[in-house]
């Protein structure tokens, strides 16, 4: 790391780019409308696809008649499952049948439908209007069965089975931990508190809906599938298997993306069907998911039920945690993560930032007649953090202790710490972030303001949440999940051209994370190059060797490390080349300002263009042991439990008596993601995540009626908060560098979403304290708050 003497930066400053909030290189094109998203792609002769979708939640398909569809003006073709004959999408866990039951998700429903919105047929037309006209002409016959629409239905004796092979509609059932003697611990504890929580089903809701453009390239003998996905190589694998093509015969290209948040890190059925239609017709086919389908028929998340007890001693030290978690995963397991994604995350990680000595957990995934689920930013952590933080608040109340002090007594402070869940936590600033967050609210006078407001009959509440977030999962950590497909590593190639500019590939896939900026900062520092000389390439399976895409806050820790290692290797090659010219040991050189410098003669330098000239255009001058060209490849993986970023969120709310409205008066986030490559990007991640966390706490929910019909078909009903509902957020940084990522960075993508629901809910409950009512289910609506506030009003 000491081989860099400083890079030339766009703002004219000296010193490393890492750690500096350089302007996003993506912004000029995105903010001036010159980005290229899937829907911007238009190919000659391109057709448009839409899907005939199930109108019933559960039933057999008795007939699929598309004759009238094919006669609709403008419709070119319509295909059923039988017409296309595609392989199913099946995600597997390497667990025994009593712990995991797989589901085969057909690309188009064959004989059974399992949720309203399930694709049954694809209609291809000259434009999207005609395609929709075609949908209306489809005649689908159903033998309707009673729908399973909630956890209670699913687990009831004699319940209708969503999948015949899954008894009790249970796809995952694991008891990961059970500390010996835990029942005795609870029996003899000074204080046992209980929280039961249900969290609303949500939609990750990327601004850009899903979509794909597929065509066959005769010259390359390749299917080209341009689609907005977080995981290009995994889409390639599934597409090649479903379509029965060699994997090299599928090229997945990802253009600019307008968000994903996990909804796009699984493989959807529609992009495969679009590709199949393009192959059948020999013409390009585009599918753009409309907002109604995006709300009802894409992947959802977060509907969970927690029943958790915690035991404490009289001083508020936690003695044990006993948890039962049931996640309603909808109709199918998503690929590659399976229906285990939510229960396994919750069960493995629940003790979190606290020193919990005893732990028992059962985690289950049930299947229901609702749209399937995918990971959503934070995956279960927004939920279990909320539950654990509610437990701490409740215990503090019962024991008459200050809730912040109670947390202090339990936070992990000696690192590395191996928890009761077998996970080793690398160093973080758990206590420091809590102290700074509380101090900030104290210094700003919120505790006094709360006292004055209470005296005046108003309802102000202050709430906190403490959490850490495992990031940089390598293949070792993912293997513990027992996924049949084990993500983890990343590969990067750095190539310098004759002008001294570099092209860098990454297997990660930015869908808003600013990789073109942050990864370029890392490379520019490693090579002592101008930022403008570095170009990042992602999202093309033909250009990138292999990658696991972007999810689980892995891109900067894992992808950034691979990029750093590859750049380091190229740097060494440049130094060896220069050293050979000077006939000195290569160790006696350094890189900087686009040149190699020699230690013993600062005036003597060789520019990268001079060296590239030799490497490419005068290869006869190269030392005998050196290959022509200037390229280097490196891979990176994490062989431990990963690295934990952490944060404390502090929130002040006011509850309005007349309406029940929850107004957020102050939001402070103190975060630690190790070395922040670009602090402004980190802050953006925090703010966006917090907005989504607030959405879950107070606004968004997808509900289903007794027939399994989803309620939210537009933004009138799915209440995504707008800029007017989301407060300004102050982000403060602490920095505990990661010891094993190449840059010291930890992941920063999900923390905002994780911390917000707990902090908001704690603040709401703090404000409700005089009423004696505690609210544990989300979203907390104004009507619920209003009812709670009325309890006191009517008592006094």
């Amino acid at each position: 790391m000491s081989t860099t003497t400083g890079a030339h930066t766009p703002d004219g400053g000296e010193g490393p780019l890492v750690g500096r909030s350089v302007a996003r290189r993506e912004d000029p094109r995105l903010l001036t409308g010159r980005g290229r998203f899937v829907d911007d792609i238009a190919l000659p002769g391109m057709l448009h696809a839409q899907f005939v979708r199930s109108t019933v939640a559960n039933g057999e398909l008795t007939s699929v008649d598309l004759d009238a569809v094919r006669k609709v003006p403008g419709v070119i073709a319509a295909f059923t499952a039988e017409d296309l004959d595609l392989g199913d999408i099946t995600a597997q866990l390497d667990r025994p049948p009593e712990e995991f039951v797989p589901t085969a998700m057909p690309v188009l429903a064959r004989d059974r439908v399992r949720y309203v919105g399930e694709p049954i047929a694809v209609v291809v037309a000259r434009d999207a209007y005609a395609a929709e006209d075609g949908l209306e002409a489809a005649k689908i016959g159903y033998a309707v069965r009673p729908p399973v629409t909630c956890e209670a239905d699913a687990l009831a004796d004699g319940a209708e089975l969503v999948h015949a092979q899954a008894p009790r509609n249970t796809l995952v059932d694991v008891a990961l931990f059970a500390t010996e003697g835990i029942d005795e611990i609870f029996a003899s504890a000074d204080c046992v508190v209980h929280v039961e929580t249900r969290t609303g089903r949500q939609n990750a809701l990327p601004l850009e809906t899903r979509g794909a453009v597929a065509h066959w390239d005769d010259r390359e003998e390749q299917l080209v599938l341009q689609t907005c996905t977080q995981v290009p190589h995994q889409v390639r694998t599934v597409a090649s298997r479903c379509l029965r093509l060699d994997e090299r015969a599928v090229r997945v290209i990802v253009p600019d993306m307008g968000g994903g948040f996990g909804q796009k890190c699984v493989v959807g059925r529609e992009e495969i069907a679009t590709a199949a239609a393009a192959l059948r017709l020999g013409r390009p086919v585009k599918w753009i998911e409309d907002r109604k389908d995006a709300l009802t028929a894409s992947f959802l998340a977060r509907e969970q039920h927690y029943d958790v007890r915690a035991a404490f001693d009289a001083e508020g030290r936690i003695l044990g945690l006993d948890a039962d978690v049931v996640c309603d995963m909808g109709a199918y397991s998503c690929y590659p993560f399976t229906a285990g994604i939510e229960p396994l995350m919750a069960a493995a990680e629940m003790p979190g930032v606290y020193t919990v000595p005893a732990y028992r957990v059962r985690g289950r995934a049930v299947t229901t007649n609702k749209a399937p689920t995918a990971p959503y930013r934070g995956v279960s952590r927004p939920q279990y953090v909320m539950v654990v933080e509610r437990l701490f608040e409740r215990a503090a109340r019962e024991l008459g202790l200050d809730p912040v002090e109670t947390r202090r007594r339990n936070l992990i402070t000696d690192f590395p710490y191996t928890g009761v869940n077998g996970i080793t936590y690398d160093p973080g600033s758990y206590l420091e972030s809590l102290n700074l967050c509380e101090q900030t609210l104290r210094d700003e006078g919120w505790y006094e303001r709360q006292a004055h407001a209470t005296a005046a009959g108003r309802h102000l509440g202050i709430g906190y949440s403490c959490f850490s977030e495992r990031t940089g999962y390598g293949s070792t950590a993912f293997a513990q999940r027992k996924m049949e497909v084990v993500p983890g590593f990343d590969i990067s190639e750095v190539r310098m051209d004759t002008s001294g500019a570099v092209t860098v590939t990454t297997g990660t896939m930015s869908h808003g994370q600013s990789h073109e900026t942050t990864l370029a900062q890392i490379v520019a520092d490693a090579l002592g190059l101008d930022l403008a000389k570095v170009r990042i390439h992602q999202g093309d399976t033909d250009r990138v060797t292999y990658g696991w895409g972007t999810f689980a806050s892995r891109s900067v820790t894992v992808g950034g490390s691979a990029v750093r290692l590859a750049a380091g290797k190229l740097g060494e090659k440049l130094r060896r080349l220069a050293a050979a010219r000077w006939d000195i040991p290569w160790e006696d050189t350094t890189l900087g300002r686009g040149r190699v410098h020699r230690h013993d003669d600062p005036a003597a330098t060789l520019t990268y263009t001079e060296l590239a000239d030799t490497a490419y255009l005068k290869a006869h001058l190269l030392p005998k042991d050196m290959e022509p060209g200037l390229t280097a490849t490196a891979s990176f993986d994490v062989f431990n439990d990963g690295t934990f970023s952490n944060a404390t969120h502090g929130v002040v709310v006011e509850l309005h008596e007349g309406t029940g409205q929850v107004e957020i008066l102050r939001y402070v986030c103190v975060e630690d993601c190790g070395v922040a490559i670009n602090p402004r990007v980190v802050e953006g991640q925090c703010r966006g995540g917090i907005a989504q966390g607030i959405a879950g706490a107070l606004f968004e929910q997808v509900t289903y009626d007794a027939q399994g019909e989803p309620s939210a078909t537009s933004f009138m009903d799915y209440k995504v908060p707008t800029a007017q509902e989301i407060p300004d957020v102050t982000v403060q940084h602490l920095e505990t560098p990661c010891a094993f990522s190449e840059t010291g960075a930890k992941g920063a993508g999900e923390g905002g979403t994780i911390g917000a629901p707990a902090a908001v809910l704690n603040a709401v409950n703090d404000a409700l304290r005089p009423t004696g009512v505690e609210l544990d289910h989300t979203p907390v609506t104004p009507e619920t708050v209003h009812r709670a506030l009325r309890r006191t009003l009517e008592r006094t």
Binding site: E132, E136, G658, G660, Q661, M716, T722, H786, R790
Partner: protein, 282 residues
């Protein structure tokens, strides 16, 4: 979310629009700003075979007070025009209208949506419908059987239905007299949403003394309603709190996913009182 097939017609003037509507009959729908209609067409909830675009009818885009002191608003005037109107076009007697505009959707919607479109659409929670009923507006129409002047109290029949014939065009909205001490307020979970409940109070003030007033509510029935019981309280010197309580007790609001009947009743209490106070302060 693409509309079913339709034919598009652009009217040159009021006569032309009326002729097109007469010719095309029940299959035609008038489009002005399109802020409600296009969304319904995209969901295929509305499937007009013909759209008659009146967007070019300059004569219907006007705003100003006439010699009688009445405010005349052309049907094509946008919400944004009202929101930003200078005092010479929208005098202090009609501040309530300017202030109410902030509750309508979001800025882009207000720059396209029109006053006439909102009233002709007749959504039960629409601000313009409520204002029209509360302030006794008169709705002027043009049709093959000649012009009509329909009092707002007789205009709204139910959700999305009103007294307009299919071949009739709403041309002008007339607020007959200033309402200097009036206010509209409402509540929704998100700013810009359709109100769960909305309230207009128009006070008759002598100095600071309340001599009476009008109270109207949206979101509690299929059409905006006046609440005589609450007005009676104002007329007899009752407090704002009593007025609000009377309003809450008088109506029988719906019970649905946006709010229980009980919650709506309590919102009425809050909002009527708030509107009374804002009206007095104006």
């Amino acid at each position: 979310m693409k509309p079913a097939p339709f034919r598009y017609h652009r009217a040159r003037d009021t006569e032309g629009a009326a002729r097109l509507l007469a010719e095309l009959g029940d299959d035609a729908k008038v489009i002005a700003g399109g802020q409600s209609l296009v969304a319904m067409m995209n969901f295929r909830l509305a499937r007009p075979r013909h759209l008659v675009d009146i967007g070019g009818l300059r004569a219907l885009d006007h705003l100003g007070t006439d010699s009688t002191g009445a405010l005349r608003i052309g049907a094509l005037t946008t919400h944004h025009t009202v929101e930003t109107a200078p005092a010479r076009r929208l005098g202090p007697g009609f501040d309530v209208l300017r202030a109410a505009m902030g509750w309508i959707g979001h800025l882009p919607i207000r720059t396209r949506g029109t006053v006439g479109g909102s009233i002709a659409h007749a959504d039960a929670t629409a601000e313009w419908c409520l204002l029209a009923v509360a302030l006794d507006a008169e709705l002027h129409t043009h049709g093959p059987r000649g012009p009509r002047r329909i009092p707002a109290a007789e205009f709204f029949f139910g959700s999305y239905t009103n007294a307009l014939d299919p071949d009739e065009l709403l041309t002008e909205i007339v607020f007959p007299r200033p309402a200097p001490h009036a206010a509209l307020t409402e509540f929704a979970e998100r700013r810009g949403d359709f109100a769960i409940v909305s309230a207009v109070v128009d006070l008759d003030l002598a100095g600071t003394e309340v001599r009476g007033g009008r109270v109207a509510l949206g979101g509690v029935a299929p059409v905006p309603v006046r609440v005589p019981e609450a007005e009676q309280v104002l007329a007899t010197g009752g407090s704002f709190a009593d007025c609000a309580a009377a309003a809450a007790a008088a109506v029988n609001p719906p019970d649905d996913a946006n709010g229980s009947a009980d919650y709506r009743r309590r919102l009425i209490g809050t909002l009527v009182r708030r509107a009374c106070e804002e009206a007095r302060a104006r």
